[in-house]
């Protein structure tokens, strides 16, 4: 019953508001009249009685307002009223609204973009049930994260106790025959138990199991699973794909099912499109059997048994590690180099395996901090803007308050206007953020590759953004709103009073902005200088005019001997092509994130044995040094006479000084493989394992510009054979001509080969430094925004201050002050704020620079110049922002200012 009556009342109050209001008016006035009559009866004269009754009533309007507030739906009604009023106020001030919305949108958008990336790279869980129960076995050394080899996987399957089962996953590239054209597709192989371990159900058809993971894929041939996006794009989401046949790497496979939406494989950044059973490796890698101990091609993931945890799995691994290692390298030789540097470990696989995470986790933390500061700045600026609006409306608030508006109503009015602004900012921010995230993800892509991540807005990201928006609105609006409702009603009645002081205008916000800007500018200049530092770093290669191309033969047909012969032929063809200065091949490209180590030892003059298990072995052709531009320091490079004679090699400078400390390396011997025990046992190393050093070349950074150079040994074809994929390097002043020449040569020598992808060394360098470049570009953007916002804030504050102080300035001018005094007055006001802000900014920035160094760059000498640059930039910008209001102050007409009184 009460609910019904309440509903009825709500309906009346909201929809029949006018009648309800008239009734209320009649009722209250009737009361007043009756009260007056009562007083007349008691002997008062009618005039006085009415006055006294009104007084006792305390204002008809106020009583009515009090009643309205207790009515059902009153809040709704007044909320609509405030919303309408707020929208009207914002429409009336389009300039203010646009700047405020844009400022908020910028802050929210930047945060959304960075968070989208952080979420996709670090936080997002695999879309499988209970992903937090998944663990992954790793083979790591520092940031190097190799997969496991076949033997290591088998050994783990045998010894490992913590998980129910272990799956093996291997990302690869499939060549799918589509409409008679070969297309490269991101594929993956997975062991037959995989879907059981992941507990992944298909969205169509079936998954595959152990029965499908055997030679030739079982009696019905290989069963393929399509990932959702691939199914939609290539098969128009048609259910009739089930049972259809696909030609993958020359083998017919049957489509058995479609995987659920969102599942893109176990490796973040590799968006898998087709999954095949692990047994398909016999088609994919015929020349490299699965059980090669030195091939780390598997991602191994398991689901913890009930009662087990990551900790128990780690303890379990520690206990069994030795047997796993033993069985992982039965010969105890091949992997001794790896086992010296790499550790088997187990870690959470909640969010899958991610190479991006290793590279970008720390940069993203840094970016989150920087972008948080940008948001703080945007909020500060919005607060300044809103405060200015509130200050100019203080009279309005005072009048409303005098007319009986309760304080909380004024507070709410201001908050509603801010909420409207924040909402517009939020919508614009989401759009901006989405676009930003897309271009950021594109920046992460490798050369010629599609974006590695899905940057589409996710629920978690939207929730984060909405939270950011609310936080921004509160931060920007709370203080101005409190100011508004604290206004004294009397202010509304005083003519000409603005009641505005510098403090009330938010004078403390500008120093905050300055401090934050100093931090951002310092961070940007630090990241910028370290980027250019890396760019100018001597890589050991001559980057200009160098063009590289990856050449890949069908491993089915090309044995190492054939590949080596073809490579030589390609180089010979290229050497005679027009526009090519020199040409060579190399087994492993520079700065490409590849990793290869070999085991070498030497016997120096004094009989000392020097063993290195981590020598970078590069197989090259004769003209390699002129082609890549690495200078030969002593001795000579390879020449065509070396091709048939006794085995020779070139050492890098660091390898030479390692194997032959303070001795001449040229002419001496290094030995590969085996162990140094052969030397102790006086046995002579076999001729294949022996090579004579003919020269020493400068150090070259094969792995990364961020690391010091590896010790490298160069061997020459055909003394040492290449595998079926290698790189061609050409020195040429005409990139287009050289690229065409490479294509032509490859096609001429190996008619069926895939089109080689060519890129210049500078492109390689850019891709290698994309992490640093992204950090530099973003932090520079942030710093620019920071300076702009600070300038806007200071400009706005001083402009208003000049308006407020017009009278004062006019008076001063009338009393004999010079215009330059007025100029100094305003400039000094601005400068003081900047000085205060800079002091705090410097303290914060020196901390921030330390933090950045520890997170990203490793220890470097302090550069006080960075901080000085940041502060100087701030002062220049502040001076520019102050000069316009200051100039305006000099133009104050004393007469006008005085007449205003």
């Amino acid at each position: 019953m009460p609910t019904l009556s309440r509903m009825k009342n709500l309906f009346r109050n909201v929809f029949a508001k006018h009648r309800a209001d008239r009734d209320l008016d009649d009722e209250v006035r009737g009361y007043a009249d009756m009260l007056a009559e009562e007083k007349v009866r008691a002997g008062m004269n009618p005039e006085e009685a009415r006055r006294s009754a009104r007084l006792e009533l305390g204002g008809v309007e106020q009583v009515k307002e009090n009643v309205r507030e207790v009515r059902a739906g009153a809040w709704l009604d007044s909320l609509f009223q405030d919303l309408r009023y707020g929208a009207r106020m914002l429409r009336k001030n389009p300039g203010f609204t646009a700047v405020a919305v844009l400022t908020l949108a910028l802050g929210i958008g930047a945060n959304t973009a960075i968070f989208t990336l952080t979420y996709a790279v670090i936080l997002k869980s695999l879309p499988v049930p209970n992903p937090q129960r998944l663990v992954r076995y790793t083979f790591r050394s520092g940031t190097q994260d190799l997969g496991l080899s076949g033997p290591l996987y088998d050994a783990l399957l045998k010894h490992e106790q913590a998980t129910q089962d272990l799956l093996a996953w291997s990302s690869s590239t499939f060549t799918v025959q589509e409409d008679n054209a070969p297309t490269e597709v991101n594929g993956a192989l997975m062991s037959g138990n995989g879907f059981r371990v992941l507990e992944l159900q298909p969205s169509l058809g079936r998954t595959f199991g152990e029965a499908d993971d055997q030679t030739a894929g079982g009696p019905n041939g290989y069963q393929a699973l399509l990932c959702y996006a691939y199914w939609r794009e290539h098969f128009h989401a048609s259910p009739s794909v089930l049972g259809q046949s696909l030609n993958i790497n020359g083998k017919a496979v049957t489509i058995a099912g479609v995987l659920p939406r969102g599942f893109e494989g176990l490796v973040v950044g590799q968006r898998t499109e087709i999954v095949l059973p692990l047994a398909f490796e016999e088609i994919l890698y015929p020349a490299h059997p699965r059980h090669l101990p030195g091939s780390f091609w598997l991602t191994v993931v398991g689901r913890l048994k009930p009662g087990q945890s990551l900790r128990t799995a780690q303890a379990n691994l520690l206990a069994t590690q030795n047997s796993v290692r033993d069985e992982g390298d039965p010969s105890h030789e091949m992997l001794s180099g790896y086992f010296a540097a790499f550790q088997i470990g187990v870690e959470s696989a909640r969010s899958g395996r991610s190479f991006l995470r290793i590279t970008y986790a720390r940069p993203l933390i840094v970016l989150e901090i920087l972008v948080g500061l940008v948001l703080l700045l945007c909020c500060a600026n919005s607060a300044l803007l809103i405060l200015a609006r509130v200050s100019s409306r203080l009279r309005e608030f005072a009048v409303r308050s005098a007319l009986g508006a309760p304080r909380r109503r004024l507070f709410r009015q201001v908050m509603i206007e801010i909420a409207l602004l924040a909402f517009c900012g939020l919508v614009a921010g989401i759009v901006l953020g989405w676009a930003g995230a897309k271009s950021l993800v594109a920046m992460l892509a490798a050369i010629g590759q599609p974006p590695p991540l899905d940057a589409a807005p996710q629920a978690a990201v939207l929730a984060f953004t909405a939270g950011t928006g609310v936080l921004a609105a509160l931060a920007a609006g709370a203080w101005p709103a409190i100011r508004a409702c604290r206004v004294a009603p009397i202010l509304g009645l005083k003519e000409g009073s603005t009641g505005t002081t510098s403090k009330a205008l938010g004078g403390w916000i500008v120093p905050l902005q300055v401090a934050v800007s100093v931090v951002l500018v310092a961070a940007a200049s630090l990241l910028g200088t370290s980027f250019f530092h890396l760019l100018l770093e001597d890589s050991g290669f001559r980057s200009e005019n160098a063009i590289l191309a990856e050449v890949e033969f069908d491993a089915n047909k090309a044995t190492d001997a054939v590949a080596t012969r073809d490579a030589q032929e390609i180089v010979d063809t290229l050497a005679n092509s027009s526009g090519v200065d020199s040409a060579a091949v190399m087994s492993t490209p520079p700065l490409h994130g590849w990793f290869t180590v070999s085991h070498y030892y030497s016997l120096d003059h004094n009989g000392g044995i020097h063993t290195d298990m981590q020598t970078w072995a590069e197989t090259v052709s004769a003209d390699y040094f002129p082609a890549i531009g690495t200078p030969v320091l002593t001795g000579r490079g390879f020449n065509h006479g070396d091709l048939s004679n006794a085995r020779v090699c070139v050492l890098s400078a660091s390898a030479a000084s390692y194997f032959f400390p303070s001795q001449q390396a040229v002419g001496r011997f290094v030995y590969s493989g085996g162990t140094d025990s052969t030397l102790d046992g006086k046995a002579t190393p076999s001729p294949q394992d022996t090579c004579q050093v003919i020269g020493v070349a400068a150090d070259a950074r094969f792995e990364s510009l961020r690391e010091s150079a590896q010790r490298a040994i160069y061997l020459v074809i055909p003394q040492k054979e290449l595998r079926s994929d290698f790189f061609v390097v050409v020195r040429s002043r005409n990139t287009r001509l050289a690229t065409a020449a490479i294509r032509e040569a490859v096609h001429k020598v190996v008619p069926g080969a895939t089109e080689p992808t060519a890129f210049t060394f500078n492109e390689l360098l850019a891709a290698h430094l994309r992490q640093e470049r992204m950090l530099m570009a973003l932090s520079a953007c942030f710093a620019g925004v920071a300076l702009l916002l600070t300038a806007l804030g200071l400009y706005g504050l001083l402009s208003r201050s000049v308006v407020v102080r017009t009278k004062e300035i006019g008076l001063r001018l009338a009393l004999g002050a010079q215009p330059r005094d007025a100029l100094a007055l305003v400039l000094w006001q601005g400068l003081r704020l900047v000085v205060i802000g800079s002091v705090f900014g410097l303290i914060a920035a020196s901390g921030a620079v330390k933090l950045l160094r520890s997170l990203l760059l490793g220890s470097q000498p302090d550069k006080p110049l960075l901080l000085i640059t940041a502060v100087a930039a701030l002062f220049i910008v502040a001076l520019a922002a102050s000069s316009i209001p200051a100039w305006r102050a000099t133009k104050v007409d004393p007469m006008v200012a005085l007449r205003h009184e």
Binding site: R6, V28, G30, Q62, V70
Partner: protein
């Protein structure tokens, strides 16, 4: 009477009113329907002038109680032939009055005992 003393007394009145205004209104309407001023006068009379209900709190209370379903109102003629809004208890209002009266009895008894004990 000093001004300070007078304002203290006013505070006492409001504090009392906040807890008991609803009950007083219900009580004043127990016998017959009444308009706003009548209710106000009736409360004064019932409490021998201790409570003076101002329209600023009376009308919000009346409208709130009407929305709760304890009162119904209708327009009628006053003693002096004026149009006035009359309030009347509903069944729910009468139940509310009973439970409020009982509650109040319990509270005042408890407080009286507590004060005696010390």
């Amino acid at each position: 009477m000093t001004p300070g003393h007078s304002s203290d007394q006013a505070n006492d009145q409001t504090k009392l009113l906040q807890g008991t205004l609803d009950m007083m209104i219900l009580k004043s309407l127990a016998l017959d329907q009444m308009h706003g001023l009548g209710i106000s006068r009736r409360i004064e009379q019932l409490t021998k002038g201790t409570f003076q209900v101002k329209p600023g709190s009376l009308f919000p209370a009346l409208h709130r109680m009407e929305e709760e379903g304890w009162l119904v109102s209708s327009w009628g003629e006053s003693e002096n032939n004026r149009r006035a809004k009359y309030y009347r208890l509903t069944k729910a209002g009468r139940r509310q009055l009973n439970s409020e009266t009982q509650r109040w009895g319990r509270i005042s008894l408890a407080i009286a005992r507590a004060l005696e004990a010390s």
